[in-house]
Amino acid sequence: MIISEQKSREELLESIEDKNRLFLVGCAACATACKSGGEEEVFRMQEWLISVGREVTGSVIIDEACHIMRAGRDLRRHRDQVEEADALLVMTCGAGIQSISSSSEKRVIGALDTLFLGNIRRLGQYEEKCSLCGECILNETAGICPVTNCAKGLLNGPCGGMEEGKCEANREIDCAWSLIFDRLEKQQRRGVFARRVPPKNWGKTGKPGRHKIR
């Protein structure tokens, strides 16, 4: 799931400038799950906007805001309210914001900061496990990603800052390489230690990514 959080109200006020009438967009998927742009948050946003003297022309929660066609369709269904607005305030991840901006000529104001692709530890607690590098090494690292979990993304073992299995960048967190090592030992495999991993091919995640199922 894509983890996002709301921008501060001060920052939002600055982005809204003098726009008076706003149409709100939320997302029923990730932004709902991480309580940044679901039904409830859209409602609270509406209340806040009214309290600072703005008018809300309407709102919609899109099923998956990252679905470009669906986002466009949902906006068309609320055409009148959208037309009435000076701007759209979008409470979705950055991908969702762009579904909206590509479906409407109206000024789009993003209300969230998008953080990472996250696993859910428990409700309200998310952890990044994969940074979408395009060349997955998990099969050699006992299912623990060093690209993401190692603070330096090292591919050939721990740095000199590892201490008692903890990471130099944050002593509260386990060194990813220590975790990889422990699990490989348990599985009695050499895994990634059997070879020198060559430099990563970052060309595989050339920006912007494109993928087509054939």
Partner: protein, 285 residues
Amino acid sequence: MSRLARQLAEHQFTVTAEIAPPKGVDVRSALEHARSLKGVAAINVTDNQGANMRMSPMALAALLVREGVEPILQMTCRDRNRMALQSDLLGAAALGIENLLILSGDHVRFGDHPESRAVFDLDSVQFLEVVRKMEAGRDLAGRLLQGAPSFFAGAAVTPAAEPFELMFRKYRKKVDAGARFFQTQAFFDAEKLKRFMDEASSLGVPVMAGVLLVKSAGAARFINEHIPGVRVPDGIIGRLEKTVEPLEEGVAIARELVAAARDCCQGVHLMTLGHEDRIPDLLKG
């Protein structure tokens, strides 16, 4: 062949020290420091150490070469991608720099630019291999070089790191990737150093033990908090606390560590943090 390479090849007990480039363009005090370091084979020039932005170590190393002082150019993977690292290698060779110390680099969190984007396009093992590749006349992309560089490239190791076996696997990878000497992170436990050397000596790469001159208990606590991979043990802090002359005690402790290194290592790398004048005292006995 660099003096460092020659001394290690001749099995002399080899001594290196280090200086940091200035934060600014005034190199006078750095050069003075370097000139005052007597009896050392070569001097490390640190690379934005602790992730604090300073003058390019390549520039200072080149100035040392001009002064007739032999540098060991430290290069980290933190600030430059594979293209920048390779072009720096070519530049370093053209400037007469022979010794390299290849490092991952401290995390940006520790330094004065914690908001910067860390690079780590290569890790230290991959970087060592790039050095070897360039020495063989090709860049990482396999393109032919017009004139190949020739280096004496080393790497770092933390002998007291736990888990030991994990640290040692990385050490072995660095050896396999072409590291020709090692400087260790500052050590304080002679037993742990010996345990490491018992394993490491069979791989046949010279190891210079890192010895840090700790001048007071306060300095020790600062190091423990701010320098990754270095931990001054309580016993040493206790000794520094008890004495009325902590610097002298610090020198005595460092001298003991040098003596321990003489028993099992091929040299020492001295980190004297502004007390370069005490180096002869550390090497006594």
